[in-house]
């Protein structure tokens, strides 16, 4: 279900890594938590509107995007817990071990990277949130999926809104709105 694409790395490997490390704090602190919160807000909307969200979820791109969102939120959570020496390692290593199961939160990150990053913990006494490395690498892969899904969801909603607002549908609906209901002589 999840698209597998090869990421293009810049020629200089260390530059590529430092670029990612540099992005971690900003994205953990700002963007995504807020963004995920807003998506959640939409999903908490009125019960009777759930079918409209359900329709959107039938689309493969939207579904992939939501999986990517959920994965990112969980990875951020693990990265934050990973800041705490001790319990952080347990959670982070747990997430790495999950790579052996179907509950892999970083499917686009190789086992070598995931498990190899844990070695860094040894040199920092567990203070380094190593799961953030995998979170960031996965996020870079997931971001285009999220964007494509949100774009598709917007298209679906716009198209249905246009249908619902069309004269034909409005005219049809008006015949059944309470004042129009009655016994006809036809």
């Amino acid at each position: 279900m999840v698209e597998q694409k090869q990421e293009k790395k810049p020629n200089n490997n260390s530059e590529w890594r430092s670029e990612r490390f540099g992005k971690i704090p900003e994205y953990v602190k700002s963007g995504l938590k807020d963004v995920a919160g807003r998506i959640g807000e939409m999903f908490q909307s009125k019960q009777e509107s759930n079918f409209l969200l359900g329709k959107m979820l039938q689309d493969e791109k939207v579904k992939i995007a939501l999986i990517a969102f959920a994965r990112t939120v969980l990875n951020i959570g693990i990265s934050v817990v990973d800041l705490v020496p001790g319990i952080g390692e347990v959670v982070s290593i747990g997430a790495d071990l999950a790579k052996l199961t179907s509950f892999d939160l970083t499917p686009d990150v190789s086992k070598a990277w995931a498990w190899g990053s844990e070695v860094l913990e040894l040199f920092t006494g567990g203070a380094l949130p190593t799961h953030a490395i995998e979170t960031t690498m996965q996020f870079v892969k997931d971001f285009p999926r999220m964007k494509a899904g949100v774009k598709r969801a917007t298209e679906i909603w716009r198209a249905h809104q246009a249908t619902v607002k069309s004269t034909e549908v409005q005219k049809a609906a008006s015949m059944f709105r309470t004042p129009a209901i009655g016994v006809s002589n036809a």
């Binding site: 964007k147 494509a148 049809a172 059944f176 709105r177 036809a186």
Partner: protein, 90 residues
């Protein structure tokens, strides 16, 4: 006051646009319209008209949020990820 025939035609329009009804069952439902009583037509019509109203309200409320979200995602990508991500729009 709409005639029964007008209501039947209107019901067909509402059935076809509905997203609550199963797509595979729509043709069968449309086929059954001529055999429906006026009361059944009114009941189903009212239900689907309510769906139209709720959908209108839902989109008016949530579509701008989704559009804003998309703009923010694009801005974020522009500022932070342009050099490292591949586009997945296709």
């Amino acid at each position: 006051m709409p005639s029964l025939e007008e209501k039947k035609a209107a019901l067909e329009v509402l059935i076809r646009q509905s997203i609550q009804l199963d797509e595979s069952k729509k043709p069968e439902l449309v086929y059954k319209i001529p055999q429906m009583t006026e009361q059944d037509i009114d009941t189903l019509g009212q239900f689907l008209a309510m769906e139209v109203d709720q959908a209108g309200q839902f989109y008016a409320e949530n579509l701008p949020k989704l559009e804003k979200f998309l703009t923010e995602i694009e801005d974020y990508e522009q500022k932070n990820l342009t050099s490292t991500t591949n586009q997945a729009d296709s």
